[in-house]
Symmetry: C2
Subunit: 464 residues, 2 copies
């Protein structure tokens, strides 16, 4: 073959060489040019198409790189043998509808909300700018898998004085969110059985399930997870929230903490995951110290996050591993590159070290305490017959209606009045042995005080 | 007991209530106050210590919250029963020395380098500021597990026109780095055997090993992974880099691509992971299209990253799943919250949509092409007797010295001259059946042209 009539369009945005390349490509794929067939020499084709020889050379070299044609020395270019595309079965695209089921509530006592008005925009932006400019820090290199050393030092200092967590920077692993850290933990710990409180945090429950863990739910009493039941379920790991259990708000007392540490100490490879998700927010006295601080035996894996205290979009969480797990981390976990950018780590490091975080927390405590007090007072003033649990801490309350209204009924009536409240039964695992009394959960972080008051007035009408 | 002599210091930074709380706490922990022992009433203690009653109340309420004491109605406060801390075994802190083995090379042909001077600082900073200000976008909420829809649309558009990847936004999952995406994939795909090229990308090899995969290395010829060998190793997943294999630089021709797709189509659950890590950089003709674009059968999982094209510290990668895996993602993967902040996603979305990325790539291609050309020319001009592989693409070259100098010897001599080059044998898995000819790898992204020239002059002295 010496001629290839390739339609070329000079006005097209596509370069001429690419038009030639695409044409020949298609001819080969569609079987019009067959394996072994000789192509015209680049000189001949250039003359024929009235283009420069280098244009054809470029097209041929692209075809050569991608393996459509091969070059035989002193003979020219030939079409390669290619297994047909059309013999392979097809992947059917299943059309999917994006979820657009945003319900229209006037008021939403969302449990995942935060007070967006409290985001420290000016400071954050300035620190971000300075971190981007900070070339000395080599911000564009990847950095340590466990997180930057300076940031981990700042975290260890903060955790020591604010949460009573006893750890050194080398024990700290930084990651983009708690779910990621649970994923990484599953790599470090390997498979096994995880005991969770019932009710518990559903997102962690789903993560453990997805990671292949055998998840066993353990009943709670007023002191938290039942250690007797825990003994019976033969778990390797107990996942607890001792400072303010989600969703019940239970604070685990010292005696139960010691029992739990005792449980862990009785097995060779038993661990406790302490998820300390919102303990920064306590409105009476000082924060409840972390369980990790009482753990002399190296069995507590401490998990903390800035999602609640700053914003969920920040994507910075951290965990403190006991010393005994550092070798396993080095062996199996340290090959995974960090999931938090150095810029964000640097911003958060300075936010901690330069006192901004402490000031931010004080401000947020003030904001949340006001909202908390307005909610509690509104419930009282509107004579809603209920008992309140988990107050003076966190950003949600649990209520038990006293005049026997069913949980579902209460949620339904609230919805009819345009208010979203959450039933505790959503957080109860169906496979649990223990029964939980139904209740209602009201998160107040994302609402303003006026909204809380108006919503509670409406609730009073439908709940009494 | 009616009296507790607690030393109080008014000048201390610690509030008085906390001094009382801490003192009693310690007394209980150390066994000086025993279970069942009655505490003085708050009124009596306040008078005794000459502090206000509310100070003592606050201390007692903290002790009550943490479970050190309990309140018996009409009787007062009593010390709780607490399992002793001191019965539990101790976790020994193993002192660790931070790695400080930074070797002193004058020139480092690092393979992971990027041209830091090319970071689009001004644009990035402006987009970042605007994203932070963009309250309409509700930047502080957590967002979609798979990534923001708008960003995934922008990615799908970019991948279609720049890489020939055929996917819709719903197939795209955004994540903080390739290692994270491999972790997530292991949750989606479940356990099995992964075939990797030999030599291959060691970081991915270690990740698969840590994730519990049975990793089988498959030999390569000049067209990439041997499909015959692949058939024999009984893998479920083949991990390949068809556009520019790391570290050999091999481009997989169309015929081998079709064979590989054929292999995948012959098994019920066979998949190909296409790691397209540096295909944006090609200095001759146009980029080699992604294998995914030829995959009609839904067997290719396409993996891409901005680590090479922008900076590793950016921590934004993405994958395009075939339709047939979307249900598995929804079931097992979607419970993991996104690992990339919405601010970063928004910045990257605008960077793609508003043409900045294309301009950035053009600029970087120019920078890297210059460095590439300087390196190739210097090798020639200094008469280093070698064959060059993988040129005209990516940011590293592979060399085979022709006069029979051993790889180790060449690396050692370079090191003596103050130059770090990398031996191919570091990338060869010891468990492989096939032999690889030794070679040297030289990354040029992080060096400037003058450094490259001077380093090659030095290499010529020790290698010839």
């Amino acid at each position: 073959m010496n001629e290839l009539t390739i339609p070329l369009y000079a006005h097209k945005k596509m370069p001429l060489y690419e038009q030639i390349y695409r044409y020949i490509c298609r001819e080969i794929k569609e079987g019009h040019m067959r394996a072994g067939e000789k192509l015209p020499s680049s000189r001949a084709l250039a003359i024929y198409l009235q283009v420069s020889r280098s244009t054809v050379d470029l097209a041929y070299s692209q075809l050569l790189s991608e393996g459509y044609i091969q070059s035989v020395p002193c003979k020219g270019y030939f079409v390669c043998e290619i297994e047909s595309l059309y013999d392979l079965p097809m992947d059917k695209a299943r059309p999917r509808i994006q979820k657009q089921e945003k319900e229209n509530y006037r008021y939403d006592f969302a449990l995942s909300g935060i007070a967006e008005e409290g985001f420290p925009f000016n400071t954050w932006h300035r620190l971000m700018k300075e971190a981007l400019l900070d070339t000395e820090q080599r911000m564009f290199r990847q950095g340590e898998p466990a997180g930057e050393w300076g940031f981990r030092e700042a975290l260890a200092d903060y955790l020591r004085h604010a949460r009573g967590v006893d750890c050194s920077p080398e024990q700290i692993i930084v990651g983009a969110g708690n779910d990621y850290l649970l994923m990484l933990l599953s790599v470090i710990l390997g498979p096994g059985a995880v005991a969770m409180e019932n009710p518990t945090y559903p997102s962690a429950w789903r993560c453990f399930k997805s990671l292949g863990y055998d998840v066993r739910t353990v009943g709670m009493d007023r002191a938290g997870m039942s250690v007797e039941e825990l003994e019976n379920v033969r778990a390797d790991v107990a996942y607890v929230m001792p400072s303010h259990q989600f969703p019940t708000g239970v604070i685990m007392p010292v005696s139960r903490r010691m029992q739990l540490l005792g449980w862990a100490a009785r097995g060779e490879d038993r661990y406790i995951i302490e998820d300390d998700y919102d303990s920064e927010f306590r409105y009476k006295g000082k924060p409840i110290p972390a369980l990790q601080g009482s753990d002399g035996g190296g069995r507590v894996i401490y998990l903390g996050t800035f999602s609640k205290s700053i914003a969920p979009s920040i994507r910075i969480s951290y965990m403190a591993l006991p010393h005994r797990l550092l070798d396993a981390y080095a062996k199996r976990g340290a090959c995974f590159a960090t999931t938090v950018s150095r810029v964000d780590q640097r911003v958060m490091e300075r936010f901690l070290r330069e006192g901004y975080f402490e000031r931010h927390l004080n401000r947020m405590r003030g904001i949340y305490k006001s909202k908390h007090d307005v909610l509690v007072n509104s419930l009282r003033q509107n004579h809603i017959p209920c008992r309140i649990f988990g107050e003076h801490a966190g950003v949600h309350l649990m209520l038990r209606l006293e005049k026997g209204m069913e949980e579902k009924e209460a949620v339904r009536r609230a919805a009819e009045a345009g208010i979203k409240v959450y039933g505790l039964s959503e957080f109860i695992r169906p496979d649990s042995r223990t029964e939980c009394e139904p209740a209602l959960l009201l998160g107040y972080a994302g609402m303003d005080c006026g909204e809380i008051e108006r919503a509670v007035e409406l609730l009073a009408r439908v709940w009494t």
